[in-house]
Symmetry: C2
Subunit: 256 residues, 2 copies
């Protein structure tokens, strides 16, 4: 394996996943992953540009940033690329009026969107709001459309909370895809458009950027397909899945 310096040569910008990389979400706001608060501070002091690239779709950016700042992170709302605002742009561009199958915590991101007489469904990580009734309503809306459009904020299978693994939006998107015989459009990682918008916002080319995440598909694979470099941390869902015994993250090794 090449040395860190060599592998990261020419890097000008760092994209950081949030959940499972900076912190584990959960009751009471979640807990930071050891070393990550300091790592973000160190990155911010470095010559590198930093941006946070998350598939978080249960909370608004404002709520998420407030929570992270409370945990000690140096982060502001303008530094976050998240799927809900990206979806709003798409809805506006295409004249789509969504039925929202989302968590109440992210609803404010859609405040400016016309949701009357829906001609599509937007599904996000709705958590407890993934009741049978809510899923069935979204299903019925789609079945009544001549050209059903389902926009999914991510395709994650699950994420890690402090209490354990939790089903993510991707599982419920699969359910609606199967029931309706359709294919969802994904807004969020690993969609290339999503990574590209994050790079644009950071003002860095793909070959000059590295994505740091815990998801081999959504973070690492997606970023690499866009021409970026990628690092998978051994925290978050990686840790659970690989069933690692040693509690350790890559954070301590990354010195930029």
């Amino acid at each position: 394996m090449a040395a860190w310096g060599e592998r990261l040569a020419g890097v000008r910008g760092v994209l950081l996943d949030i959940s499972g990389v900076l912190y584990d979400s959960g009751e009471g706001g979640g807990v930071p992953i050891a070393g990550s608060v300091e790592a973000v501070a160190r990155l911010k002091r470095s010559r590198l540009k930093v941006r946070f690239c998350t598939n978080e779709s249960q909370k608004s950016r404002g709520h998420l940033v407030g929570l992270l700042r409370h945990l000690g992170y140096d982060i502001s709302e303008g530094e976050v690329t998240a799927p809900a605002p990206a979806a709003c742009l798409i809805l506006r561009e295409r004249g789509l009026r969504p039925h929202l199958l989302v968590h109440d915590g992210v609803r404010s991101e859609f405040a400016q969107v016309d949701t009357s007489n829906p001609n599509c469904v937007v599904i996000a990580d709705a958590g407890e709001s993934f009741s049978y009734q809510n899923m069935n309503k979204a299903f019925q809306v789609l079945m009544e459309l001549e050209n059903p459009v389902l926009i999914s904020l991510g395709r994650g299978r699950y994420y890690k909370e402090t209490s354990g693994l939790m089903l993510d939006v991707g599982a419920y998107t699969k359910a609606l895809e199967y029931a309706c015989g359709i294919k969802a459009e994904v807004v969020g990682k690993p969609s290339p458009e999503f990574f590209k918008s994050a790079l644009q916002q950071m003002g860095v080319e793909a070959h000059q950027a590295v994505m740091i995440g815990d998801d081999i598909v959504g973070d690492v694979g997606g970023a690499q397909r866009c021409g970026m470099r990628a690092l998978q941390v051994r925290t978050g869902k990686f840790r659970i899945v690989a069933n690692l015994i040693e509690m350790r993250s890559y954070w301590s090794r990354v010195s930029l």
Copy 2:
């Protein structure tokens, strides 16, 4: 198209789907589909053997039969092939102890099954019990197993109730399959084993039997793959999907 007499030559037994064919389930027990009570009575008076082959997994056979008898159908519990008892046989044969993600209405079918320290998950049409919490629990049980086994009572996408189309177990099975990266074992139509057990119980060979259902995949395709003939009625989900204007069923045409 060949005449009915010709197409049904040599038929000795009839397998009837229930939901969407005999009746539409729903609030207050559901409503019979016009002509079906009389059609069942006529079949029972004929020289043909009759068996009911359903993927109903929200109600026990006892409950289902009670409901149908109340609506006027000549039907007894011993005439019904349903996935829950078929699943119980499999669980016993393989020493599996299920975590049950099922509707309370069908739980009695599993009364004799050991559910301690689960080593598999059984998923059925749980209806309102498909809460996020219950889905997540089933997901966590599967993720903790070295060899996760998911047994699904059917693979239906949706069914028709009097109030409209309803998400069926297949959608939720897809969600768990995707989240866990596994493939479910299906007990129920269109599984060949399920059709074969119905034929055995009826004492009729596949080439001597006709399946009557409203689902082109679960009923018609599945039966045909087993060497049976099949008729698709234009009621139940067929009607909704094809968006037929004329309210009419094949029942009036089938004279056996």
